[in-house]
Amino acid sequence: MRGGVCGATVLIAALSFALSSLALAQDSRESVEADVSTRRIAIESDFSGVRILLFGAVENSTQTAPEDGLYDLAIVIEGPREELIVRRKSKVAGIWVNTEANPYKAVPSYYAIISTRPVDEIARPQLLKWLGIGFDQIKLLAVGKFEEGEEKNFRESIIRIKETQGLYRKAEHGVAFIGSSLFRATIDLPANVSVGEFSARVHLFRNGAYLNSYNTQLNLQREGFERLVYTFAFEYPFFYGVAAVILAVLAGLAATAIFKRD
């Protein structure tokens, strides 16, 4: 295997010598592969967020040491999409009331950019836009109509609120090379994260030029007691309510029995 790859590289190198520089860039260019440490993550009752390791390698790396900084990586993690309603308060008769509401479709519940350095240093804005890297590139589909100039405010508010909730995040030095080709990144998922399919897109750059991307998935699920309560509450709401009442009655009676002995 190894010999085969080496042979092919030599052959391509020899060929490209004779060909144009464009061909050289295309044929011997580096590519990236990656995976996550856990594909299925469980949210349990002691869940207070989780850190996942993303690791990968740059194939055909010409870097000799991690300090070379020849390559840049920008990883975009997107959580399951959800419908949202964004509301804005204004002052009515002296108190703050929600006066405007706009529904949004398919808003990423989670969006993280993890990169070797700030993304605007990695590549030009057009390229970042084309690859969909950056909070500005998040697709937020508003359903209704806006008053003039309001759409921008609403859009920014989603990003701002999600950022304060820790659901939209940037880690500008979150990817590090370990060897000449091996890299690792950590993905932080806070406790309030939505469950479902997450996608991770790993983009490789060299000197501001885009080389290659790799996509992988991870699945976040509710497990254990937490999952039980949640499923019970949403799938059998009536029985959940009855169970909550029975628990309360038992708790109340148990307390009396315990404290009577004193």
Binding site: S45, N98, R160, A191, A248, V249
Partner: protein, 308 residues
Amino acid sequence: MQIYLPIAELSVNAFVILGMGGAVGFLSGMFGVGGGFLMTPLLIFSGIPSSVAVATEANQIVASSVSGAVAQWQRNNVDIKLGTVLLIGGIAGAILGVQIVKVLRELGQVDLIIALSYVTFLGTIGTLMLIESLNAIRKSRAGEPVAARKSGQHNWIHGLPFKMRFKRSKLYISAIPPLLLGAFVGLLAAIMGVGGGFVMVPAMIYLLRVPTNVVVGTSLFQIVFVTAVTTILHATQNQTVDAVLAMMLMVGGVIGAQFGVRVGQRLRGEQLRALLAILVLGVCARLAYNLVAMPGELYSIGPAFGGH
């Protein structure tokens, strides 16, 4: 220790929640009140969504009032017939209240209405209690006897139709006032997450003229069932009952109440009421401030409804 609340969808410190349950339990034991009107605002202040706070608190009140109800039952202090009439009204009120919460949630106004209801109720009751207890303190200092209310007088309630005989309460009154009173308290339970004893008890004494020895028992009887029905209705209509949160509040609450009762027995009635009035007005002021003060973030995001 962090615990993830499955319905509120946030991670909280278990000791903070237990402590809150304990503190409110202590106060409710000390003052002899349910505590829902203190617990719900506290939960909202600590970041629990209003609709979850209300529904979960209704669940907790079941636990905190069931033992009292059983004790009163054993002492034959429950007028079952009157309690049932109040309960029928209460269930109707709870059904209406839960439906109102559902609609308000869709409109995005549930937080506002819950806060406004609290400001109105706490403001009114706190002021009345403060005036009454200060008068009582003043009179007892001046050496005047505290005037007992005249009883046995007939009022407008006796002119209403559909009269029923309530043997245990020695009353022959129309069924309409207890039905309406029950409905009003049921509405409060559903919208505010309170037992409603603070409305029920004075109304039974002064309006229905129920003898004081059956007032507490009958009101507790009604509260247990109305909060139980409210819990089930919120669970089915709004999916807002957080059982994990409720359990923690219950544990903290029952322990706190045991100590509160002991402290309360050493304090004088009118001083106790003045203290409670100040506390109620404090919570009211805090809620009112939140409504009036410019919020740090004008925008809010919430889940879309109708999808599931």
